[in-house]
Amino acid sequence: MEKTAPANTGTPLIDMRNISIAFGGIRAVDDASVDLFPGEVMALLGHNGAGKSTLIKILSGAYKRDAGQIFVNGEEASIANPRDAKKYGIETIYQTLALADNVDAAANLFLGRELMTAWGTLDDVAMEAEARKVMGRLNPRFQRFKEPVVKLSGGQRQSVAIARAILFNARILIMDEPTAALGPQETAQVGELVKQLKSDGIGIFLISHDIHDVFELADRVCVMKNGQVVGTARTTDVTQDEVLGMIILGKCPPGAIPGPGALKIAA
């Protein structure tokens, strides 16, 4: 399949510069820089504890950074909590699929931001109509609007979670292991979704362990090790083996731009 990678010129959607955070004595993220352009999927790779989740939680407002700057559309952003992040159009889809299992898809889509009638009551009909519109875009086969989401399949739940994020005009989507709990068909479905979101100009940070997924979906990869960035590369410029080498050894291949965490080869 041909990749239509964006040119990556102009202002990045997100530019995180020299981010550091320490928990106790451990530098979970150490001078890490990463950027994201509109319509691009940037995959963050690394071992458990490499710092990728922590870095992304700084962006989503769950953690507060010790040092560094975040630019959204070229302007410096102050993100101190999840509400701030939402204000900048940054939405997160959590690994645990944070959905209220017992209520239906429409209620989940609007949870915390319900549409109300003029009487101050819930406007369920309008919410369902809006939900049908959004879900129709993401997953046209989806029809089970009246059932509690616990009865949906993993892929359907995932599309509800994603719809929830894009319903509120997310421009930057953070997906933390979006396919971890899914079967092969559902994973394919999420892949379709990601491609569709890209074509809408949404920038996506994808955290994943699955290197095949990453090469399938991502335009660029950023590999982290011990809290530092090993290197950033276009998926077209490196092989899967080279990326594995980055993850395991911290060895930066010629096709990648090395970061501060790259293995210094003694000359």
Binding site: A100, V103, V125, Q143, E147, S153, G155, Q156
Partner: protein, 438 residues
């Protein structure tokens, strides 16, 4: 793909593939669980009627049953929200006790002796009830605060409350019973005076039927506006007809229960009416406590289904973490739920003390268990996240039917407890089986 097949089953099911019963249920959108409970209620009623030799299904017994059910049904409607949020409130019976005592003390002693209102002043019941409501709100807010903000488990906080409020109830008058209560306040307990009579009962029934028809029409219009699938016309008509029949049937039963002869005689003397041959038939009509319970049911159903607050209660019950990430202030919602419970305990206290025409410090003893049982039998899941107000109120009716039926049969009270306890466990077991199958 897996989801296409499941979709076609769920949404575009071909009618020919479904049996007649399933087709009927799908068209009317009746909850099978609710249908099961109504079925159980009918079986219990008919069974008790046969066993008691025709004493159970009489206007007199059904009318009394409705009054006895009111207090527990009112509290059960609030317990639904508490349990849906994965909490429990063991203190409602004791809270009911202390609030009843305070309201009794207020109307008989405080407002008369210290504030200086005359006995029988029409403001007395209003002020007494207002004091009770404030106290109920305060008790609920306090317990809710400790549970939500200080993070003490609800089980422990309300177990403490069970003891504390019962002790406080004794404290109000050092254990003395307060009686008789204010004449207007007493109307909340039912009885011949505390019922609205035949004419008004029919009026209420007809208004309720009109409201049902309006609600059906409105729902249909809304769905049409957004081109959602509609129920077939015959199903809508059937639902409306059955609901109206139940409402008018209940009114008819309430209107078939006459005042006792002695009270009719006194009433006739007071109003200079000559009693005709064969006695004068004056119907009770719907009792005021029953009307109060119905109103509470409607308000609570509205709160759970139509308001943002109700939606949050269910979302928190389904997944507290997700609700929190969605920006819901889960602590404040928790506290509000307990405040509602406190207010409902006040209404229940008013009804039960008015019915006894006295406030005793034993008022509401063990009511917490009846209330929880009613909610659980009515389909509220103890795991949180699901339950309906109407189900809990029907559950209260079912519990009360069993209890008063056993009294009619002359079952002695230890055996009554055994039966009620066993029924609760069996009901929850059946519910678990049901939930696994669906």
């Amino acid at each position: 793909m897996t989801d296409t097949t499941s979709t076609s089953q769920a949404d575009t099911a071909r009618a020919s593939e479904l049996g007649a019963v399933a087709r009927f249920l799908k068209a009317t959108e009746i909850d099978t669980r609710m249908l099961g409970m109504v079925g159980a209620l009918v079986v219990i009623w008919v069974g008790l009627h046969v066993l008691s030799g025709g004493l159970f299904l009489t206007p007199r017994n059904l009318w009394n049953l409705s009054v006895q059910t009111s207090a527990v049904a009112i509290m059960a409607s609030g317990m639904v929200l508490v349990i849906v949020m994965r909490n429990i409130d063991l203190s409602v019976g004791s809270a009911e006790g202390v609030i009843g005592m305070v309201m009794g003390f207020a109307q008989v002693h405080f407002l008369v002796r210290f504030v200086g209102l005359e006995l029988g002043n029409p403001w007395i019941w209003v002020l007494a009830l207002a004091i009770g409501l404030a106290l109920g709100l305060l008790i609920g807010a306090f317990q809710g605060f400790v549970i939500a903000y200080l993070e003490v488990p609800a089980f422990i906080v309300t177990l403490g409350g069970l003891l504390v409020w019962r002790g406080a109830a004794w404290w109000v008058t050092s254990g003395q019973t307060v009686a008789p209560l204010d004449a207007t306040f007493q109307l909340m307990g039912g009885g011949p005076a505390g019922s609205i009579g035949a004419t008004w009962s029919w009026a209420v029934g007809i208004v309720a039927c009109l409201a049902v028809v309006f609600a059906l029409f409105n729902g249909r219009r809304q769905r049409k506006r957004f081109r959602f699938p509609l129920r077939p016309i015959w199903a809508e008509t059937l639902m409306g007809a059955v609901t109206c029949a139940i409402i008018l049937g209940a009114v008819w039963v309430a209107n078939s229960y006459p005042w006792p002869v002695g009270i009719v005689k006194r009433y006739a003397e007071a109003n200079n009416i000559t009693i005709p041959e064969g006695g004068l038939f004056i119907a009770h009509g719907i009792a005021i406590p029953v009307l109060m319970a119905v109103m509470v049911g409607i308000v609570m159903t509205f709160i759970t289904n139509r308001t943002r607050f109700g939606r949050y209660v269910f979302a928190i019950g389904g997944n507290p973490e997700a609700a929190n990430l969605a920006g819901i202030n889960t602590r404040w919602v928790t506290m509000k739920v307990f405040m509602i419970m406190g207010v409902l305990a006040t209404i229940a206290a008013a009804i039960s003390s008015a019915r006894l025409n006295s406030a005793t410090n034993a008022l509401g003893t063990l009511d917490e268990l009846l209330v929880i049982a009613a909610a659980v039998i009515g389909g509220t899941s103890l795991a949180g996240g699901s339950g309906t107000v109407i189900g809990a109120m029907l559950g209260a009716l079912l519990m009360q039917s069993l209890q008063s039926g056993m009294v009619l049969l002359g079952v002695d009270s230890p055996l009554q407890s055994i039966v009620v306890g066993a029924v609760l466990v069996i009901a929850v077991f059946l519910d678990t089986v049901y939930r696994k199958r669906v």
